[in-house]
């Protein structure tokens, strides 16, 4: 069609501009909509961050991070959140130790061993159901099963958090294992490897980056949970490093308690705890990114 039908004295330059059309307008509208949607989602996030930093940054100091929790009536410059930070760290760590290996093994079963079998499908379905269980129900579950018999302890809290983390770890690990190409498994089988060895030495390392970052996201999520801890760990005002016995406390529990106090000192310490918690979650997220990037060169 476009072949020149008449010889021209001067060849005309091709017009490569997009002609105005509905298609072009639609494209522009969509671009604007997406920018607006992005801005809207950033507004609440921005407000949260600005508020927490504005109200919490002033109380943060080394002594705030390490001191015991003072009586609520005392002003903001007294005491700190040491026990809550210690509690959050040890309880989350213990929950991670319980949930991550279990979740990864579950995912390996579903993806590598279960196939289309009934058990694998049941586990997959159950973990989806578990994802939807409200965290306070998990707290009550552990409360009736554990806390009623063994008193408040960090361990009970760790169990409750582990229940919350488990389905997230199972599903995210499963997705990562699915991404490992079958050609790698076949390559290993062709060398005479057993199934267990193929899984441990080829499949798992190939998926490790994604699995670790999924697990860290679950950890960050669990570190911020309040409800499951309310019934299971109790509350203390001095550091309890023993996660297996005695009541404990955590940053989310303290934020909840302090926020409902009428005293400005306690409220300020609550904001400080909120900022500390955000920073801890942020550190987990960054680690997740770094780990993913570290392994990205293998998974391309």
């Amino acid at each position: 069609m476009a072949v020149t039908s008449q010889p021209q004295a001067e060849p005309q330059k091709a017009d490569l501009r997009e002609p105005p059309s509905w298609r072009r307008t639609k494209n522009q509208i969509m671009t604007v909509l997406m920018v607006v949607a992005f801005a809207l989602t950033m507004i609440p996030l921005g407000f949260v961050l600005v508020t927490v930093i504005a109200k919490g940054a002033s109380v943060i100091s080394w002594s705030f991070l390490t001191s015991s929790i003072p009586p609520n009536v005392l002003p903001a410059n007294v005491g700190g959140m040491g026990p809550a930070i210690a509690g959050t760290l040890v309880i989350t760590a213990l929950a991670t130790v319980i949930a991550v290996p279990l979740g990864i093994l579950g995912a390996i079963y579903i993806n590598e061993y279960g196939g289309k079998g009934i058990l694998a499908r049941v586990i997959g379905f159950m973990s989806d159901v578990m994802t939807g269980v409200p965290s306070i129900i998990m707290g009550l579950f552990i409360f009736t099963l554990w806390t009623l018999h063994f008193q408040y302890s960090g361990l009970g809290g760790a169990f409750a958090l582990a229940c919350l983390m488990l389905p997230i770890v199972i599903r995210s690990s499963e997705e990562m294992l699915k991404l490992v190409p079958d050609s790698l498994r076949q390559g290993a089988y062709a060398l005479g490897a057993t199934k267990a060895r193929v899984t441990m030495t080829v499949v798992l390392p190939a998926a490790l980056g994604g699995i670790v970052s999924g697990a860290l996201l679950a950890v960050a999520r669990a570190a911020g949970e309040t409800a499951p801890l309310l019934f299971t760990i109790g509350i203390v005002t001095s550091v309890n490093w023993n996660v297996f016995s005695g009541a404990n406390t955590s940053l989310p529990s303290q934020i909840f308690l302090n926020a409902s106090q009428p005293y400005t000192g306690a409220q300020a310490r609550g904001w400080g705890a909120a900022l500390t918690l955000i920073v801890i979650a942020f550190i987990f997220m960054i680690s997740a990114r770094l780990v993913t990037a570290r392994y990205a060169r293998y998974s391309s």
Binding site: G115, P181, S183, L184, R185, Q186, G187, A188, Y189, A190, L191, G192, A193, T194, R197, T201, V202, P205, A206, R297, Y298, S299, S300
Partner: protein
């Protein structure tokens, strides 16, 4: 052009009905030992019969090529040799396959032990996401080799045998995924021969590679022939004539009634005979490029 091609195919189909399904036994060439003895073998995937009536001996220290159009069951037969079909749910092998006198599908035969003796190189290079060194050392390690010095030696020898050593000797720690397609395929060959197998099966090893890499792989196969027995599936007939001693031609039989397609072995003989003096009209149509 189109018309004549169809004629040839139609004629071949017609002749297929008159001619015996398989021309056996194949004219013997050379006096090598039979390493695989396959008799009346068929492979099923569930209720689908993928390939049937395969009877052929494979000879030691030779390169045997499987040619034929897509769906004719070449790869399926190849994968039956080291029981890779076991990994496909519902796959079943009928008939008999003997490897050095032992029934490959006999009771008590471990597919793991089979695959340690009969290695495989795949169509798409599949280096593990590990370092070049660890890729080659993977096989020896699963066989229990822990001695660092011994592993170093095996890695160097295998990479030299795969004609890759000079290109990678200074970057053994780098990921196997950083290699180009041709290099990655040679790495996979090095990985396969590092366990010192008896047989190397190759499933279209050069189909994803450029002509220069293909040439390198072909030269490599000729070198490896003195130590290993090689069976190669290829779509490239020039490749079959260049490297192989014997050629087996597979063909798809279409059953119009049940709408199923089943592969059969049509002709097996020395590569020279298959390409210069094929006895079956379908083989002739295929090797002369008029069909398939």
């Amino acid at each position: 052009m189109e018309q004549s091609e169809q004629d040839v195919v139609a004629k071949a189909e017609q002749n297929a009905a008159k001619e015996p399904l398989i021309r056996q036994p194949a004219a013997p060439v050379g006096t090598g030992n039979v390493i695989f003895d396959v008799r009346d073998m068929a492979v099923w995937y569930g209720s689908f019969k993928a390939v049937t009536d395969v009877t052929l001996p494979i000879y030691e220290n030779e390169i045997t090529a499987f040619i034929g159009s897509s769906g004719s069951g070449k790869s399926t037969v190849l994968r039956a040799f080291n029981r890779m079909n076991d990994l496909v749910p519902g796959a079943r092998v009928d008939g008999e396959m003997y490897y050095r006198g032992a029934n490959l599908y006999g009771s008590g035969v471990s597919p793991i032990a089979v695959r340690r003796r009969i290695g495989m190189v795949f169509q798409k290079p599949n280096p593990f996401p590990k370092s070049i060194y660890d890729n080659v050392a993977y096989g020896p390690r699963i066989n229990g080799e822990r001695n660092k010095k011994k592993l170093d030696e095996i890695v160097e020898q295998s990479l030299r045998a795969a004609a890759l050593w000079d290109e990678v000797k200074n970057r053994l720690k780098m990921s196997g995924l950083s290699l180009s397609g041709g290099q990655a395929q040679r790495l996979c060959i090095a990985r396969t021969i590092a366990v010192e197998p008896d047989v190397v099966l190759m499933d279209e090893p050069a189909s994803a590679l450029d002509p220069i890499s293909t040439g390198a792989i072909e030269d490599l196969m000729k070198d490896l022939k003195s130590k290993y027995t090689i069976v190669i599936v290829t779509h490239n007939m020039q490749q079959a004539t260049r490297v192989s001693d014997r050629t087996a031609f597979f063909y798809v039989l279409t059953d119009a009634k049940s709408d199923t397609r089943t592969g059969v072995l049509v002709e097996y003989g020395s590569t020279k005979q298959i390409f210069e003096d094929p006895r079956d009209s379908r083989t002739q149509a295929y090797v002369t490029g008029r069909m398939g």
